[in-house]
Each structure stands twice: as C-alpha cells, then as structure tokens.
Amino acid sequence: MAVERVSGGSSLIDVLDRVLDKGIVIDAWVRISLVGIDLITVEARIVVASIDTYLKYADAVGLTGLVARPQLTAVAEPEIAVETTRRVTRVPKRRTVRRR
C-alpha cells in the first residue's frame, strides 16, 4: 500500500504540533510583554537563553533508544527505559548565554 505525502500545511494538527512551541521560541509571557514595547527605547534586549540542535541519528545512542513506547504497556522494560533516557541526551548540545 503506497503512502501519499501531504504538504505540511494541510494538516492542522501537525501544524499546531510544530508551530506552538518549536523552532525559535520566545516565552509566552515575554511575547505578551513585548507587545507595545519599543525595544530601542527601553533598556532591554532579546538574548539567547539556550540553543539545541539535533543532528544525530541512532548511531550514537543505539536503535532501541529511538523506539516509540506504546502507551498501553503496563509492564516496564528497564532495558529500553535506560536507552530512552540516553536518547534524550542532545548531541551536539550547546548552551549559549550571550551578554554584552
């Protein structure tokens, strides 16, 4: 059975799943407080709080780490749990705080 690829914008769920909290994010309350503020005239600046990029496939973490765990399982399988934790390790991880 062939699978058809649909363009991103044709599925609202998939769109919301991405646009609300992924990419470049300014925290909601900051976003709201920005409305009406002229950045140039106030003594505030937008800076990077953190950066993560994810450019690794399974190689570094072992394939089981990437395996989705069905939510119906009641039986814990520690083996997989451990690898799942490892997967969360973000490579390469970088944390940048910039100040003038």
């Binding site: 649909v6 769109v15 003594e43 989705a68 039986v75």
Partner: protein, 294 residues
C-alpha cells in the same frame, strides 16, 4: 460574527491568495475555516523565521491576519527576518492564523533554508527586529549553517489494534494455546484467566510495536541526517517521528518510505507529511535581558 454576509465579502481576497500561493490544497483548507478577523495596521511586525539573505526579498501578499499583507525581509548583515506588517496584537492560534503562519514559512522554504519562529511573535518596528538579529546573530548564523539544505519530514504510524490482536491469537503460540484453553475448558476462573490473557496480549503487542518501529527506523537511517522521536498520540499510534533529510535526497527518502509502507501493507497506516522547516531539530529559546543588568 461569522455570518454569511461576512463570508460573502471575502471571495476577492481569497482568489488573490490562491493566485499568489498556487497551493490549492492549502487554500481549500484555509477557506474551510470561518471568516477571519481582519487584522490590519502598520503598528507591528509579525515574525515568521530567519533566512540567510544577500538582498531584500519579498514573498507575495500572504501575510498573517487576513489582510494579505506583503511578506518581506528585514536584513541585518547576511541574515534576514521574514516578516509582514500587522497591528500590534496577540495572535490566537486559530486554524486560520496557524495555517497562515505555516503557509508563509512553506513558501519561503521552497527556495531558502528558514529557521522557523514559533507562532505569534510580534515586534514593533523593523529597527527592533534588526536589534534582535544583531544581538543573537552568531547563534542564528550557526544554526542556519547547520540546517542549510535540509528539510524535515513527519512520519506517524498507526496500527489496527484489532487486527494485530487477531493475528497474535493465531500466531503467538503461547497466546493461542491459552486462548483455546479458555474457550474449550471453560476454566473455572474465567475472569482471571481472561485478565491474564489480556496481559499476555498487551505484552506481545508492546513487543511487536517495538519491533515494527525499530524496523522502520532501521530502514530510513541511511537516507536521512537525523531523526527525532516524539510521544505517540493515542493508543493506535506506535510511532511519531520527524526526520531531517538533505534536500537533494528527498526523492530517495520518499522512495524508502513508500517501500516500507508497502511492506507492512494494511497492518500499519502511515501518515507522511512535509516538507517542513526543521521545527523538530532546532530549539532556540530567547529571553529578555535588561541592558543595565550586565
């Protein structure tokens, strides 16, 4: 106020959007929604994302807010923010708005690598945006380099639980025997026996789902740069993944996805979406800092 009258005033605008976008499917869906509140005004700038840019660019009158504002770039050195004019306004993530945001990004993405902003970021002026670009320039530049020429694809995999359970009752020797026993012997404690059968099936299903997902990742690994595994949604979904793929290997990735889908036939349903900008592979958190504090 979603009256018929309000809808009737919009066709001209819609046609314009359709022409500009050439993306019929998208427009159809956007049209299916209710008539939007038209948010016009020049007070603010809605920010869609960041691109590398040598010159000023425009992307058509497809801006968020329903007024068909021009999407253009605000440049700082060799990077630029993709923006459109808007009232200074907190956008609700309605169907219309979210799709408009995504549509602009997709349009830009046809030609450029864009680092997407999350929904609803509004600044006051072009100068403000330049200030932001300036203060986070190095980070943006770095991420743009890393993501250059790459696209994201989404792959959700659902299975037919009932069919899998039936299969397990046939194929899994342990489960099959136990099931037969319950039927044949009218075990005294049928309730408990059934509970036990349920647990056996659950466990077998978890194993099977793990196996399927592993096979799928294994098959796609050679045609993509990176992958991310998101939490499946609901109990039918066994996999909710995003893949980062080189633009030039898009067709190859397509081919493998189709090959996998054929392999699993009716057992697994694939929902394959994209191309997306690299939402799942970039996470930049911004904050506000007082100048006097440093």
């Amino acid at each position: 106020m979603k009256t018929k009258k309000a809808m009737a005033t919009r066709p001209a605008l819609k046609r314009k959007v359709a022409k500009a976008s050439k993306d019929d499917l998208h427009v159809k869906i956007a049209d299916a929604g209710n008539a939007p509140e038209v948010t016009t005004g020049e007070g603010g700038r809605y920010l869609y994302g960041i691109v590398e840019a040598k010159e000023q660019m425009t992307f058509g009158k497809i801006g968020i807010g329903g007024a068909g504002e021009l999407v253009y770039t605000v440049k700082y050195l060799d990077i630029a923010a993709v923006v459109s004019k808007t009232a200074v306004y907190i956008f609700d993530p309605t169907r219309e708005n979210a799709l408009a945001h995504e549509h602009v990004i997709e349009t830009v993405m046809k030609t450029y690598t864009i680092i997407p902003m999350s929904f609803g970021t509004v600044f006051r002026t072009d100068d403000d945006i330049r200030e932001v670009l300036k203060s986070i320039y190095a980070s943006l530049k770095d991420v743009l380099t890393q993501m250059a020429g790459k696209l994201e694809f989404g792959l959700k995999v659902n299975w037919d639980r009932d069919q899998i359970i039936e299969e397990l009752k046939q194929e899994d020797e342990e489960i099959r025997q136990f099931h037969q026993e319950i039927i044949r012997k009218h075990l005294q404690s049928t309730y408990l026996a059934r509970m036990q059968l349920g647990r056996m099936i659950d466990k077998a299903m978890a194993e099977r789902s793990t196996q399927y997902v592993r096979e799928i990742y294994e098959a796609l690994r050679s045609v993509c740069v990176a992958s991310r595994d998101n939490q499946p949604i609901g109990d039918k979904m066994i996999m909710n993944a995003a893949f980062l793929v080189e633009r030039k290997r898009e067709a190859e990735f397509d081919g493998v996805v189709n090959k996998i889908a054929r392999k699993y036939g009716k057992r697994l349903k694939f929902k394959y979406t994209g191309p997306w900008p690299p939402y799942n592979f970039v996470n930049i958190r911004l904050k506000v800092e007082r100048v006097t504090a440093s």
